[in-house]
Amino acid sequence: MSIEVPAFKIKTGTLPVLQLHILTTDMAQLKEQLALRLKLTPDFFASTPIALELSAIAESATGLDYAELAAFMLEHGMCAAGVVGGSAEHRAAAVQAGLGLFTEAPARNIPKREAVPAVTANQAVELHEQPELPGFSAVESENQPADQATPGMPPARPTMVIDKPVRTGQRIYAEGGNLVVLAIVNAGAELIADGDIHVYAPMRGKAIAGAQGNEAARIFVQGMEAELLSIAGCFKVFEDGIPENVRGKPAQVHLEGSRLLIQPLTH
């Protein structure tokens, strides 16, 4: 059986995107002012994808002709890629006009920002039996709801901060976010995060970053003495000890392709 070379990859990524905040549903006024503004810097928007921000007109019953607006923008070098915010009607009309839907920025979805939970080792999960590690089954990420209409970043969770020693037998899981540990992590302890892991102390246990398959996750450790390191299911154990150049030293771990790289932090 030959292994097929993959023709594509689907990944999430955070890219900066310009937003055009639409403040009126009066198409004539909008076009006029836009034309005036774009005449000042003719080449500024050369093929720049633009998200139309609709929250200001969300309450307005009258819609916009998005197809007309998109065509007008294209004439001026702006490429309308999709809409963000707005009412359900607006969004439906935008889809009709062939535009995409951006998910709203998380901060907008959450009216009040959640306080960062001061999770301490006291509240750390204490498990006797060892269920399957999420980091070792990358397929698990496929069980995530994939039927979202639009690609977009899942809302970021606040970073979990642990300020007490993480001892053998303890497991800490920062679901959907980053994990920062300010105290020692002993052999037999497990740190798991869907995002990055930072340990500002000797790290002698296991660190599993990108547990849901995020290949961009990294591990930063002040004193590298780990038993196991894993990113997005790609892991390394240290039967013969940690490599000399990083042993006990500040180090970072990241994925390059399918290789787990451990590099000293020298700056």
Partner: protein, 269 residues
Amino acid sequence: MAKVIVITSGKGGVGKTTTSASFSSGLALRGNKTVVIDFDVGLRNLDLIMGCERRVVYDIINVINGEVSLKQALIKDKNCDNLFILPASQTRDKDALNLEGVARILEELKQSFDFIVCDSPAGIESGAFMAMYFADEALVVTNPEVSSVRDSDRILGILAAKSKRAVEGLEPVKEHLLVTRYDPKRVNAGEMLSVTDIQEILRIPLLGVIPESESVLKASNSGTPAIHLDKSDVADAYRDVVGRFMGEDLPMRFIAEKAGFLKRLLGGR
């Protein structure tokens, strides 16, 4: 307010019961009303070390089941007036303990005692859990070898996550490290972990170091807590431990290798 202190370790055979006997005796010798409870139901040992095994009539399980009063089950120590022993049951197992019963006993003891010392069984099962759940402070007994240190680390994690103080979000259990069976000679030879090595892993304050000594075995067999021994390093070390626990600032002894006769004669190394 009475203090509940658990003597724990995770691993067996490191000196929990020896420490419980000497530590509670030491507290009592200083005039504190002290009771020491054997939580090792089914493997009753504390009464042997304290030399009161022939006076055990009732035990902690009888009290929990309401068969006898606490007063009937408490045994007065033969060496100290202020010390009482609540023995474990030999014929039952640890499932006979329950949190409500233990809570009731501790509440009652708190009325008349200054210190309640709980001698935990080895392991992390229900008996050890019952012994540590209500603790205000913990003496973690560790031998200078890796498996003992690893088990102590585990126990510290459980204390920090599952004790009553942790569950109810109160001030955490105060942790003390007690290194027992310490042999500076073997530490220097690289055969044992040093106190520094142990602290580097566990990172809790050191309460004391008890040197390895044959006299501990003799004391155990004769039913006398080691702290009562004459001219013994172990007795001195336990007295230091009690002193430090009571807030005294005492230098750490028995960490360095004893100079041999020739060495002393020739003026050290």
